[in-house]
Symmetry: C2
Subunit: 369 residues, 2 copies
């Protein structure tokens, strides 16, 4: 990050460019969205997040503007003086609103972060699998977000970045409880590990409720696709550790990994059974969804998610062979409001978004492979 000032200038002058490809035509999608990863027929992506705070400076919710500016400088200083990771610096307040929304839709930052925009900043690599949020709920949040099921690999990267920062910064840490955080749910390790899983077969056979109940007994929590408080959409669930305190990072990751492995197995078993016992019904549902999406003229987000979920299942079960499995990950981002708006280049009404969403899906399904 030797060119930090240059890069920062560039952002200030036209932050949007970074989301556009070289020809300025396509929206840039993060590695976790359009890249490949292990077990991607079920695990869309995995995420490791570490919450850290600087000693003796109030948490962002209570800190003064100068304190927050100081935090940004401190992190920037450390990041610029290392060569292991090539990270760009983004000042949130310099971004046009649509760019901010794009970052949220790609899970690279949070609405809370955008709201504290005075001194909010983001460090991001080109592949968009590493992000460091500065002055969100905590002073520092390191996030590694990659495609498929590779929690340990992601953890390794997060840990390296954590070491790198901790080497130069004085993190708030108590011998008794570990890392301090703005919200007690992050105390201790400050670690939130999560996987985003696609479970259509468990859902269609009504086994999902039982499974989710079991999960909460194991110290894990299940959320919808868009995080806390959101409903599941497109049979996609986020599973993460509930407790950050009292277990080591390894224990937390191992637990999530082991439970996810069982869920993968269960989902695959049910898929196999469905193909044996209800082949025509399953194939019919999948192919109808595919047919609708290939010709749809307007579609709301929820219905699109449901049909795309069916199409992904079809790809992963070998029923549809003309499409790539990543189509769901890609489209679940591309059909969100800011992405639709970005690709259109102007403010869209809800009705216009439904039309644009339909055209985008039609094109994506037609132009694959």
């Amino acid at each position: 990050m030797q060119d930090i000032d240059k890069i920062e200038d560039k952002k200030a002058g036209g932050a949007g460019e970074m989301m556009v490809d070289e020809q300025g035509k396509k929206i840039n999608l993060s590695q976790w969205i359009s890249g490949a990863g292990p077990e991607q027929d079920i695990v869309l992506s995995n995420r490791i997040r570490l919450a850290r705070n600087i000693n003796k400076i109030p948490f962002p919710g209570k800190a003064k503007k100068e304190d927050l500016a100081e935090i940004v400088s401190m992190v920037k200083e450390v990041v610029s003086k290392q060569d292991d990771f090539k990270l760009f610096f983004i000042k949130i307040k310099d971004l046009p609103q649509v760019e901010k929304n794009l970052l949220v839709e790609k899970n690279l930052t949070s609405p809370a972060h955008l709201n504290k925009e005075a001194e909010a900043a983001l460090f991001l690599n080109n592949e968009e699998n590493i992000s460091i949020m500065v002055n969100e709920e905590d002073h520092i949040r390191i996030q590694i977000l990659t495609a498929g099921f590779q929690l340990e690999k992601s953890w390794k990267v997060a840990d390296e970045i954590d070491d790198l920062l901790e080497d130069k910064l004085d993190f708030a840490f108590s011998k008794k409880i570990g890392y301090l955080s703005a919200c007690p749910t992050n105390l201790g390790t400050g670690l939130r590990a999560s996987v985003m899983v696609h479970l259509p077969a468990l859902n269609v056979t009504n086994n999902i409720g039982k499974m989710l109940g079991a999960i909460s007994q194991l110290g894990l929590v299940v959320r919808g696709i868009y995080g806390e408080g959101s409903e599941s959409s497109g049979n996609i669930y986020q599973i993460s550790n509930q407790i950050t305190l009292g277990n080591s990072e390894k224990e937390i990751i191992d637990n999530l990994k082991s439970v996810t492995t069982q869920i993968i197995e269960e989902e695959r078993n049910i898929r196999e059974k469905l193909m044996k016992k209800q082949k025509i019904q399953v194939k019919d549902k999948i192919m109808r969804s595919y047919g609708i999406l290939k010709y749809v003229q307007k579609i709301a987000s929820d219905e699109a998610m449901e049909l795309l979920s069916n199409v992904k299942l079809g790809i992963d079960m070998g029923i549809i062979d003309s499409l790539d499995s990543k189509v769901l990950s890609e489209l679940l981002i591309l059909i969100r409001p800011a992405h639709l708006q970005k690709s259109e280049g102007e403010e869209l009404s809800s009705r216009e978004r439904d039309i644009k969403r339909a055209s985008l899906i039609r094109n994506r399904l037609t132009n694959d492979k």
Copy 2:
């Protein structure tokens, strides 16, 4: 019909052949199903039917077997001694069950006719637009069934055949009430004129009820697609004269023609309005239906009719240009049980029919134009 005995022998030996094309691959479809006709965007077909009975012989419901056999001979004699119409003779009882059902599904005969099979017979031309049922409810029923809206042309053919028969046969006729018939609803002219109309726009805007109410005030009756007592399916309605007595044939046909012309105009107006005011909604419904039918794996008859109706509307409104408008007329016959069975060549369960129906529709929509 000089070769009547030869033809009859052929039928007895393999009546089914007549329903199969020269390559033995395709089911033969009547002219009214796959042919072209005026106003075919709305009027699928038109039908003229004349009920006639031979004087001094009881109606088929009360007649002895010998009487019925006599009727068949009489009609056969007349038909064989004319050169204007090339008609084949079919003895209903010689047909395999599936062939009988095919005839019913193509509206060339009726279930009632099949049930009286001892001496029931049918004269049919190669295009299947002329049929003479012998010993159905009446001794003789002349039926002209052609594509589109051409009632007068159809009437002309029916009238010619009627004259031809009447010239040699002694029809039961009273100066006061006209032609006698087994059921009082056919007394007088013995004429039933009808049109089969596709009214999706009137239906979707809920104007259909009002229109159907008005129709019954005009001496007309509306039925579903499969005749008396049947529900409308696929937005298709049969409109015919209720009264056969007290009006001339010309008056009956003129009345039906005039009302149908108004309905056509109204349907076209509403289609135009829909395209102006709800273009995207209409296009979306049509294209989704098209997409589903192109990929469907199993489908029940009612749903198929509904989606095909949308597709036909799309073709007729210029939204779908890769298909021919006759696709609905063709498929509404081809997806019926006996036709599905015939094209498969074996007895099918309801589930198997749904699968076969889906595959037939998929292929038909893919192989057009």
